[in-house]
């Protein structure tokens, strides 16, 4: 174990290994939690928060909340059962990336600049790219 990994090549190789081959379970679990919160907020909010202003014009906020809820449940299911399938790829990969990108674009349009949701959108897209059925390996290999 290196306490001070001073070599740039070592750091590059380690980060690349983690990004390409790293286990995604805990990231997906955290995304399940944050998406559950987002879904609850979309269902419970009486005054439309400015973050949701643009997406609420595209569709009812309850529909967005339902999609976030489905995404969260799919993630939980995928992590807790270690299941990989094309249906889950659609529900947790494509659906998740689309939802977070939509929310990030909504916030960017309203605020005039991106915020933390853009980070979530990028990570959800990375999770989609890394989904095991795409790259023909999984977390256990």
């Amino acid at each position: 174990m290196k306490i001070l990994p001073c070599s740039p090549s070592y750091v590059y190789k380690r980060f690349k290994d983690i990004l390409v081959k790293g286990e995604t379970s805990s990231v997906r679990l955290f995304f399940a939690i944050i998406s559950m919160f987002t879904a609850i907020d979309m269902f419970s909010t009486e005054l439309i928060d400015h973050e949701y202003l643009v997406i609420s014009k595209l569709a009812d906020l309850r529909l967005w909340g339902t999609l976030f809820l489905v995404y969260s449940i799919a993630l939980m299911y995928g992590v807790l059962t270690r299941s990989y399938s094309n249906l889950l790829l659609l529900l947790e990969g494509v659906n998740g990336a689309a939802l977070w990108v939509a929310l990030a674009v909504s916030v960017t349009v309203i605020d005039g600049a991106p915020d933390g949701t853009m980070g979530a959108a990028l990570v959800s897209m990375w999770l989609l790219i890394k989904y095991p059925t795409h790259w023909e390996y999984d977390d256990e290999s």
């Binding site: 790293g22 805990s26 939690i33 987002t38 973050e51 980070g119 023909e136």
Partner: protein
């Protein structure tokens, strides 16, 4: 073409949850959490978002530059932890730092701007990441 669809039900759900949180590899999570902090601070600095203006109002000290620097240093510290494979003392310090800052942020947001949901959820996630980092120090 090989069918990659499969299901593993031989491990109970709670055991799998424990495996993921307690025994799983947190490197990717911490790496991405650090990336998120640096990205967020970068947006705040270069694109003049309202986030950095809101921070001095929530906390009793420090201006926007102070909090942007705090986030960047914290993000780099997370990357260092990942590169160094979670050294015990470093994990304890960085994890505690993350937990304290984000617990404070969550409380400040909830009392000041209760409707800013994703901020609260983000705070909760970073508290969990902080606890995860602290746990990695205890495991060693």
């Amino acid at each position: 073409m090989e069918d990659k669809s499969r299901r593993r039900t031989d491990v109970p759900y709670l055991q799998q949850l424990s495996n993921t949180l307690v025994d799983g590899d947190a490197s990717l999570t911490v790496l991405l959490a650090g990336f998120g902090l640096i990205l967020w601070a970068g947006f705040g600095i270069f694109m003049f978002t309202g986030d950095l203006d809101a921070y001095p109002k929530m906390f009793p000290f420090g201006n926007g530059a102070f909090w942007a620097t705090n986030y960047i240093v914290c993000g780099i510290a997370m990357w260092w932890l990942v590169a160094a494979q979670f050294p015990p003392l470093g994990s304890l310090l960085v994890g505690s730092w993350v937990c304290i800052i984000w617990s404070w942020s969550a409380l400040a947001r909830m009392t000041a701007t209760a409707t800013y949901q994703t901020g609260n959820a983000t705070s909760l996630i970073y508290i969990l990441v902080g606890l995860l980092i602290i746990h990695r120090s205890a495991r060693r």
